[in-house]
Symmetry: C2
Subunit: 231 residues, 2 copies
Amino acid sequence: MNAVVIVAGGSGRRAGGPLPKQYITIGGKAIVLHTIDCFFRFDPDIRVILVLAPGHEDHWKKVSTGYDRSDEVILAKGGETRSRSVRNGLIYVEDGWIVGIHDAVRPFVSPETIGRCYRAAEESGSGIPVVEMDQSVRMIGPEHGSASLDRSRLRRVQTPQVFRSELIRKAYQNAGDQSYTDDASVYEALYGNVGLVEGNIENIKITTRVDLQLAQLLLQEGDVQRGRYSG
Amino acid sequence: MNAVVIVAGGSGRRAGGPLPKQYITIGGKAIVLHTIDCFFRFDPDIRVILVLAPGHEDHWKKVSTGYDRSDEVILAKGGETRSRSVRNGLIYVEDGWIVGIHDAVRPFVSPETIGRCYRAAEESGSGIPVVEMDQSVRMIGPEHGSASLDRSRLRRVQTPQVFRSELIRKAYQNAGDQSYTDDASVYEALYGNVGLVEGNIENIKITTRVDLQLAQLLLQEGDVQRGRYSG
């Protein structure tokens, strides 16, 4: 059985305007619904758990009115931190399942990326989508100065980050209140390694107002759905 | 005296279409002209050296017709590699100058970013614009596996990368035919460290077709910010 915890906990103020970005409509549908549909397309029987930030219930009610699968979406309460939100979502997932954790504001994850992640998790415990680094990167030294990193060895990390449910649950218990950059790092802290699979470059995280405009372009063109997008 | 070597050596085929991306028109003007104007705005007396890829002379002639400062742009020949192109551009720069090396397809570098880079180079020998990392990053291990990097210590590197001219020239001589990720790394290989300054996040490198669409959005936004659009 597959499940996905979609984290929509952020207030999303960075996108500008009063409406959190996951509830903004692009192509006639709220971003969060685009995102959910990606997973229903992957597996019509997937359990979808949507973690709502406190106070966002009305936003959800509004955008999901008329959405034909809203009854199949389980709502979970968002916490103070992202980590707390993920844990709240994992409550609705049973042991022995494969569970993805995905950003509500990544509506352009491809079916191929989702499939690769879930397959890898089933086979090895975890599957994380990554894409090549498209720019030069430096690391700031602990004291001062910086060093250029070998770009060919760097990967940008996306979501869904997919795991065997009992493994990621245990990893979160192990993590306690420590802060991690993402779910893969929580998993890695306990198990030492995560499985990397190929993501898709249009799987952007819609954070800023410019991201939002880019998202509208991507959607209008329909290139994402038709697979015509080429880097 | 300030100079800038603008590298337009790439064939830019990734942007789609037959026209290299630096010659594509956005907002009524070729991208490369937007880029050049950023530097003339910073210093009306700057020496601008444009390195053209072999066979691109006609593209330049076409987009620069009617451009009021085209006579002030020195054309240099692009080489087989980016490194060779930069060296060819540096021929037109004298010792004791401050020289920036900039991508032709970065037309959104801000005046503040340019100023910070040239000031840092004057004071310390080098000035490289960087911005915070906006996503999780992993490094692939030498054998297998990967490790999450501390995002707070990572910086994305932009251009212009600015140096005291005699220092970067010597660094390139020292580099020989070795391959480096960027000019900062060439400099660093000889002098051990580079000066980092704050870049600006709109200073994107227009590489893909989606970047190009984003560029058009950014240009409209810039116009809005400058009060040229009332809608």
